[in-house]
């Protein structure tokens, strides 16, 4: 009766509600975003290194994957300065001092529009080897090299003097240093 007085049949009412329910179901399945429609098209790049790895030499290769970039990739440092622009999905940086260094990676299309980016800047922690280690290695190396050169010089002189003596007496060349 209610439906007839409003001019809508029960079947129409049911169909309407079914459409509303189905529409709301689909709208729940698709994430609702309050973002700009263009932002929702931006993909995500998976960037490594992950985690708390410490880099002791001040250099690191940052790699990423996830999206092809027809226009290439861009990497900016924590000051927003562009430090890499190219097609390879990796970037090498060196000469970093102790501390945390952040880099943001974006992928662009041929018009330069961003098509993907790293969810958050990749953070690289640099802690150089202690100077004491460096001095030990330097000192050890210097000692080994000095001894090496001294042995060559001494051996060369000793065998040269002995060979000269042997030649003078007319016997075979090819003596030893000791």
């Amino acid at each position: 009766m209610l439906f007839r007085r409003s001019g809508i049949s029960f079947a129409d009412w049911i169909r309407t509600w079914i459409c509303v329910i189905v529409a709301s179901f689909f709208s729940q399945a698709s994430p609702v975003s309050a973002q700009d429609p263009l932002q929702s098209d931006i993909g995500s790049l998976v960037v490594e290194p992950f985690g708390q790895e410490v880099f002791r030499e001040g250099y690191v290769t940052i790699r990423w994957s996830g999206v092809d970039a027809p226009g290439g990739y861009r990497v900016t440092d924590e000051d927003g300065r562009l430090v890499y622009a190219g097609r390879q999905p990796q970037f090498f940086v060196s000469g970093l001092s102790d501390g945390q260094h952040a880099f943001q990676v974006t992928a662009v299309d041929q018009e330069g529009r961003v098509v993907a980016k790293s969810d958050r800047p990749v953070s690289v922690r640099v802690e150089h080897w202690p100077l004491a280690y460096a001095f030990w290695a330097f000192g050890t190396g210097l000692t080994v090299v000095v001894v090496f050169v001294a042995v060559i010089v001494w051996g060369h002189r000793a065998t040269g003097a002995r060979a000269t003596g042997i030649r003078a007496t007319g016997t075979r060349v090819g003596g030893d240093a000791s």
């Binding site: 060559i152 051996g155 090819g174």
Partner: protein, 487 residues
């Protein structure tokens, strides 16, 4: 300086068609030279050691060309990019290996006037105990070097001209295998002479062109602000690597048959002068190449792979002409090293593996024709192994090459002690090589590639001295000189 981000890796500098044309021209020319010089190799002695009659000019040129490898033009800039000014200087210390080998080459010629290989010396001096570890180290290092050269060829051609890595690597390796096969040591030394002239002239032109494009003071300012550690005198990793590089250079030269075969090929008395002169000619080259590595971050040239920084910077700054020059210089440096490795390693395997095996099985020595046949087979086999490994393109040039660092550095004391002193015996030599290699490799993996050779050489030296003191022998050097076939 106006910091403009130069689009690295976006497009190759040279047109791929130009790259293929250059590759074809050089490939055909080098193979033709191999065939032409190969006519002189009528005996195995001619094929293996160029008749033992190489003079000072060719001797110096071959030493310079062989030591200017693609590592010099690609690894030296990588060192500078990773380890700063110390990295470039550290790489230059590899010339000290040539200086050190100068007097030693004369001693080698005196002791073994009819010798062919370094392994032969170790076998005569230390017997089976020294022979086995040294042979394994020599073969492993030779293959590692060969693979790293092949990789470098592929990477270079891809960076400069877009030729796919597998194609470029395969063509470079195939050309070197062919002309070495046809011409032996005559072809190797002859092409080295041409290559050394091309390399030196090319590097001078590239260096002058770069210096006219870039102000050193601007590079210094940019690096100080943005990459300060590259200029730091107290850069820890760089300090740790300095003597590591030098000892690696000593180990490379002292153990490798590439250098011993040249000592045997040079006329009496020429070796010391040739190696000394070669050291002085080679010394400035990695410093010039290293500047390219330092220039990259200062000029905002983004780098994806550190071992391509040298060619990439030169080509980016100098355009097509620079790319062409770099292409030619690096091709020549690659070819000059790959051919030397193939020839010297084949000599080693023929003289110290196939010949003794043949004698053990057949009871007679391999004749000249037999040695030539086995040389041919060995060169082809080495080429195939290098191709299969290089095809994978694993690691950078530094990590591939310096893995062998502890092994070669552990050989320097047994060789030096064995050449000049009677007391070191087989157990001292073997234990020095094994302990130096093992401990050096532990340091390589636990700390880094920049200390492996230093630790290997230090441990090897201590063990060699200790065991010699505990078990001294009395070796008679007169037993080392002999006529004819390897004993």
């Amino acid at each position: 300086m106006n910091p403009v981000m130069l689009l690295a890796d976006a497009e190759p500098i040279l047109n791929p068609r130009d790259g293929y044309i250059l590759l074809t021209i050089f490939g055909v020319l080098w193979i033709a030279l191999g065939l032409w010089w190969g006519r002189r190799a009528k005996t195995y002695e001619g094929f293996a050691v160029a008749g033992r009659n190489v003079g000072l000019a060719l001797g110096t040129a071959t030493a310079v060309a062989t030591w200017i490898t693609s590592n010099t033009t690609m690894l030296a800039p990588q060192f500078a990019l990773q380890l700063g000014v110390w990295g470039a200087l550290g790489y230059a210390t590899a010339s000290f290996g040539l200086f050190a080998f100068a007097p030693v080459s004369g001693r080698i010629r005196t002791l073994m006037p009819h010798g062919f290989t370094a392994v032969e010396f170790i076998r005569c001096r230390y017997g089976i105990w020294g022979y086995v570890p040294f042979l394994l180290i020599s073969l492993f290092y030779a293959l590692t070097w060969l693979i790293s050269m092949s990789m470098a060829g592929g990477k270079l051609l891809e960076v400069l001209s877009g030729i796919p890595y597998p194609v470029g690597m395969s063509v470079v390796l195939a050309v070197c295998v062919l002309y070495t096969l046809f011409g032996g040591m005559y072809a190797v030394i002859g092409t080295d002479f041409i290559q050394s002239l091309v390399i030196i002239v090319g590097l001078i032109v590239v260096a002058l062109a770069i210096l006219s494009t870039v102000e050193i003071s601007d590079v210094h300012t940019e690096l100080q602000q943005r990459r300060p550690m590259l200029l730091s005198v107290f850069f820890p990793a760089a300090l740790m690597s300095l003597f590591n590089n030098m000892l690696f250079g000593f180990g490379e030269i002292f153990h490798s048959n590439v250098w011993w075969s040249r000592a045997f090929a040079m006329r009496e008395g020429v070796g010391p002068k040739a190696y000394l002169l070669a050291g002085f000619l080679w010394l400035p080259i990695p410093i010039v190449a290293g500047f390219l590595g330092l220039a990259a971050p200062a000029l905002d040239i983004g780098i994806s792979q550190p071992d391509t920084v040298g060619p990439l910077v030169a080509a980016t700054l100098l355009g097509n002409v620079g790319a062409l020059l770099v292409f030619v210089v690096v091709f020549c440096s690659l070819a000059s090293s790959i051919d030397s490795l193939l020839a010297a390693t084949a000599d080693l395997i023929v003289g110290d593996v196939w010949s003794p095996a043949f004698r053990a099985v057949r009871g007679t020595a391999l004749d000249d024709a037999g040695k030539r046949r086995w040389s041919t087979f060995t060169i082809l086999l080495l080429g195939a192994i290098a191709w299969i490994a290089a095809f994978q393109n694993l690691g950078t040039l530094a990590t591939v090459l310096f893995f062998a660092g502890p092994m070669v550095a552990s050989c320097i004391w047994p060789i030096l002690g064995g050449l000049y002193f009677r007391q070191p015996g087989p157990i001292a030599a073997a234990s020095a090589m094994v302990s130096g290699t093992l401990v050096g490799l532990v340091a390589y993996f636990q700390i880094g590639w920049f200390v492996g050779s230093l630790v290997g050489a230090t441990v090897s030296g201590i063990v060699f001295l200790a065991v010699t003191a505990m078990m001294p022998k009395t070796f008679h050097f007169s037993t080392m000189s002999y006529e004819g076939d390897s004993a």
